[in-house]
C-alpha cells in the first residue's frame, strides 16, 4: 500500500434490507483518502455519501449491512505500521470501537440533535477520553476546557456546564468539532457539517476546520452538496452517483477538465456567478432512479446526453485513467 494513503476503499457494497426490497446504497464504490489531505465527496441526495462514511466507521444503521468490499485503514505511528481491513471486523468488535472516536471521528449536519439534550456539553466531551484513555480520566476536564478554547468557544468554563439547547448553532458545531478532535484522530469525517448553518457561521466553521487540520495533520473526508465549498476545502474530489464513484480527480481537474457527463452537467447547471457559494446539485434534468431498482449498465444512462445504446444500458463502465490521479467511469473514455 502506498505509504501516503490513509484509507483505501475497494468495491464497497452496503445494502439496506427493507420489506420493499434491497436498497443498494453503496454499490461498488472505490476511493482513497490520502494522509493529511482533504477529500471532497459530492453527489446528489441519496447517492450514498453518508452511507459510505458510516461504512468506514461500521456504524451503518439497521437494517443496513456492509455486503462486501474492503476498507483498508493504514496505521503508521512510531514503530507501528499495519493495515487493518475494517470490513473484516464486526461492528461490535473492540478493535473497531477503538478506531471509532480515536483514529477516525465524525461530525454531522445537525449540531443540535447530534448532542444528547439532557447531558451537559462537558459530560459528552469528556466521555471520549474516558472511553479511550481511561487511565487519563482525571485529566479529562482540563483537556476538554483546553480543546474548547482551541476551537474558539468563548468562556469554556461556563460552557462545559451548559446543555446543548443553551448554545447557538455555530457554538454547537464548534463543540462537536472539539469532541471529534479530542483524541487527535488521523481522519475526520465531516458529513455536511455546515448545511444547517448560516453563511457567516459556515465560513467560520470551514476556517476552523482548515486551521485544525494544519495543526493536527489529519485527513478530512468532506461530504457536501455544495461545489463552492468543495472548491474551497478539498484537495481531491470524488463524484458519486447512485452508490458508485463515477469520477475522481484533484480539485483543479474537477473544475477545469471534468470528464463524466454527469459532472459536466452538474458544473454547467451552475451559473458562473454562483459558482463559489450556494450552488446545489439539483438542477440536472431527470430524476435519480429508484435505488430499489437500479438500472443495468451505467447508472447514469437514463439521464445521459451522450447515451450509447447497447453499451451504456448493458455494461457497467470500468474506471479509466485519463490523467495523473484522474479516473472516470464512463464508456466515452474506454478505448
Amino acid at each position: 500500500m502506498d505509504p501516503g494513503i490513509l484509507i483505501d476503499i475497494q468495491h464497497l457494497h452496503t445494502n439496506f434490507y427493507l420489506r420493499e426490497g434491497v436498497v443498494k446504497a453503496v454499490n461498488g464504490a472505490s476511493l482513497t483518502i490520502a494522509k493529511g489531505r482533504t477529500l471532497g465527496v459530492v453527489g446528489e441526495s441519496g447517492c450514498g455519501k453518508s452511507v459510505t462514511a458510516q461504512s468506514i466507521l461500521q456504524i451503518v444503521p439497521r437494517p443496513g449491512r456492509i455486503e462486501s468490499g474492503d476498507i483498508l485503514l493504514h496505521i503508521a505511528e512510531g514503530d507501528l505500521d499495519e493495515t487493518i481491513n475494517i470490513t473484516d471486523l464486526n461492528p461490535g468488535d473492540p478493535l473497531m470501537r477503538d478506531i471509532r472516536g480515536s483514529r477516525i471521528s465524525m461530525i454531522f449536519q445537525e449540531p443540535m440533535t447530534s448532542f444528547s439534550p439532557v447531558h451537559t456539553v462537558g459530560n459528552q466531551l469528556e466521555e471520549t477520553i474516558k472511553l479511550h484513555q481511561p487511565e487519563h480520566r482525571d485529566e479529562a476536564p482540563t483537556r476538554v476546557l483546553d480543546m474548547l478554547r482551541r476551537v474558539g468557544i468563548a468562556n469554556p468554563e461556563r460552557n462545559v456546564e451548559s446543555y446543548p439547547h443553551q448554545l447557538s448553532g455555530g457554538m454547537r458545531q464548534r463543540a462537536m468539532i472539539a469532541m471529534a478532535l479530542m483524541l487527535e484522530p488521523s481522519l475526520l469525517i465531516a458529513d455536511e457539517p455546515t448545511t444547517a448553518l448560516d453563511v457567516t457561521t459556515e465560513a467560520q466553521i470551514l476556517a476552523l476546520m482548515r486551521d485544525m487540520q494544519s495543526e493536527l495533520h489529519m485527513a478530512i473526508m468532506f461530504i457536501t452538496h455544495d461545489l463552492g465549498v468543495i472548491a474551497e476545502m478539498a484537495d481531491d474530489v470524488v463524484v458519486m452517483y447512485l452508490g458508485r464513484v463515477v469520477e475522481k480527480a484533484p480539485v483543479r481537474a474537477i473544475f477545469h477538465s471534468p470528464k463524466h457527463p454527469y459532472l459536466q452537467a452538474l458544473l454547467e447547471s451552475i451559473p458562473r456567478i454562483q459558482k463559489r457559494t450556494g450552488a446545489r446539485l439539483q438542477a440536472i434534468e431527470g430524476i435519480v432512479p429508484n435505488p430499489l431498482d437500479v438500472p443495468p449498465g451505467c447508472p447514469f444512462h437514463l439521464r445521459c446526453p451522450d447515451f450509447i445504446p447497447g453499451v451504456c444500458d448493458e455494461v457497467v463502465p470500468a474506471d479509466t485513467t485519463v490523467d495523473e490521479g484522474h479516473t472516470v467511469a464512463c464508456h466515452l473514455y474506454t478505448d
Binding site: E285, G286, I287, P289, N290, D293, P295, L302, R303
Partner: protein, 373 residues
C-alpha cells in the same frame, strides 16, 4: 421530471391505487387484525340475530334448573363417532355431601342437537314473528339446552349472553358515535381556529383526562333521573361514557387539522375564498377519515369496558335489561363464582370483543399511517 423511469405494471398500479385500496392492502397484511375484524363482524351479526341464534327465550326461568352446569357436547355414542353432537338431559339430585339439591346430567336421556328447531316464540326486531331457532333440541319444552349453564333463576346463560351482546356491542358503537360527534366538532374547532379557543379546549381535555373515570361515571350515573325508561337510561349512560371518550378523538382531529392547515390544497381553497365550513367538510374531513376510523375502533373497547364496569357494580343498566355487565353482576361475590364458575363466561365474551377491537384498531392505524409507531 422529464425522464420516465420504466416501471413494472404492478408498480404502476401502486401509484394509481386509491388511498382506500392502499389502506386495505396494508391492513390485509396484518393477519391478526384481519382475523379480529372477521370475528367482530361475526359478533355483531350474532347480536343482530340474537333471537334466532339463542336456543331459548332469555327470560324463560325455571326453579328446577337453578345454577345448572353447562352441558357437554358428546360426539361418540357406543364407541362410534357421530358428526351430529348430542347432550344428556338434566335431572335434579341431592348432593351426597351437602344434601343440597343440585342439577346433574341424566345419561339415560339423549338429545341430539339439530338445526332450525322449534322453540320459544319470538318477534325479531319487533316485526317478524317466528319460533324457529338456529339450533336446539327437539324436546325443548321439557328439557332446556344449557350450553353455558344456567343462572340463579334457571335461565339459559348462553341465550342471555347473545341478548346481552346486543346492548354491550351497540353501546360501544353508539358511544363512539357520540364521541366522534363531540370530538370532530370540538377538536376541529380547536385545530382549525387555534388561539384562545384552542387553549381553552385543550385545558378542558387535559382536565377530563386527569379525572379518574369510574368514580366520575358512577357519580354521573346516579344523577340520571330514576323514573327514566330503560331506553333513556341506556342513552344516558352512553352519553356519560362518551364524556371522556371524545377527548381522544378530539386529539386526533386537532392534530390532523394542524398538519393539514398548512397543506397546499387547503390554502388553494382558502385563496379561492370557499366558505370556511365548506373547506372543513369538503377537504379536511375526508383526508383524515382513515385516521379517525382507526381511532374509533380503538375507542370502542373503552366504552364496552365502561358499561360492563358500571353495570357490574349495579349502578349502570339494571335488570331486566340484559347486558354483559348486568350478567356479570351474578358473579359479583366469591361464593357464587365458586358455586357456579360459568357465571364468569360473559367476561370471556367481553375480553374477546375488546381484544378483537384493539387488534383490528392497531391494524387500521398501521394501515392509515405506516410511518407512525
Amino acid at each position: 421530471m422529464t425522464v420516465a423511469t420504466p416501471q413494472k405494471s404492478a408498480e404502476t398500479s401502486l401509484y394509481t391505487a386509491s388511498q382506500w385500496q392502499l389502506m386495505w392492502w396494508r391492513f390485509s397484511r396484518h393477519r391478526v387484525a384481519v382475523v379480529s375484524l372477521v370475528l367482530l363482524v361475526f359478533a355483531y351479526a350474532t347480536a343482530l340475530f340474537a333471537e334466532v341464534v339463542s336456543p331459548h327465550d332469555p327470560n324463560r326461568f325455571s326453579s328446577s334448573w337453578v345454577l345448572a352446569p353447562p352441558m357437554r357436547l358428546h360426539f361418540t355414542r357406543d364407541g362410534s363417532f357421530h358428526l351430529r353432537p348430542y347432550v344428556y338431559g338434566l335431572t335434579s339430585a341431592r348432593d351426597e355431601e351437602t344434601l343440597a339439591m343440585v342439577v346433574v346430567p341424566d345419561e339415560t336421556q339423549v338429545h341430539p342437537i339439530r338445526f332450525w328447531v322449534k322453540g320459544d316464540p319470538y318477534t325479531l326486531w319487533g316485526r317478524f314473528d317466528s319460533d324457529l331457532h338456529l339450533f336446539g333440541i327437539d324436546a325443548w319444552e321439557e328439557q332446556p339446552l344449557f350450553l353455558m349453564g344456567a343462572d340463579d333463576l334457571g335461565r339459559d346463560l348462553f341465550s342471555r349472553i347473545m341478548f346481552g351482546a346486543r346492548i354491550s356491542l351497540s353501546i360501544g358503537l353508539l358511544g363512539v358515535g357520540f364521541s366522534l360527534l363531540f370530538g370532530v366538532v370540538l377538536g376541529g374547532i380547536s385545530g382549525y381556529y387555534g388561539g384562545l379557543v384552542d387553549v381553552i379546549i385543550q385545558r378542558i381535555i387535559e382536565l377530563l383526562r386527569s379525572l379518574p373515570t369510574i368514580p366520575l361515571w358512577l357519580t354521573l350515573v346516579v344523577i340520571l333521573p330514576p323514573h327514566w325508561s330503560a331506553l333513556r337510561i341506556y342513552f344516558g349512560i352512553t352519553l356519560i361514557l362518551s364524556l371522556i371518550g371524545w377527548t381522544g378523538m378530539a386529539r386526533v382531529v386537532r392534530g390532523r387539522f394542524l398538519a393539514l392547515r398548512e397543506e397546499d390544497f387547503i390554502m388553494a381553497a382558502r385563496l379561492a375564498n370557499a366558505p370556511q365550513m365548506r373547506i372543513i367538510m369538503r377537504h379536511m374531513v375526508p383526508s383524515f377519515t382513515s385516521h379517525l376510523i382507526a381511532q374509533m375502533t380503538l375507542a370502542v373497547p373503552g366504552m364496552i369496558l365502561g358499561e360492563t364496569a358500571l353495570s357490574f357494580l349495579g349502578l349502570g343498566l339494571q335488570p331486566p335489561v340484559v347486558s354483559w355487565g348486568v350478567l356479570l353482576q351474578g358473579a359479583q361475590n366469591l361464593r357464587s363464582v365458586v358455586l357456579a364458575p360459568w357465571l364468569l363466561l360473559p367476561g370471556l365474551f367481553v375480553v374477546a370483543v375488546v381484544l378483537a377491537f384493539n387488534f383490528a384498531g392497531d391494524g387500521l392505524r398501521d394501515a392509515a399511517d405506516p410511518y407512525a409507531i
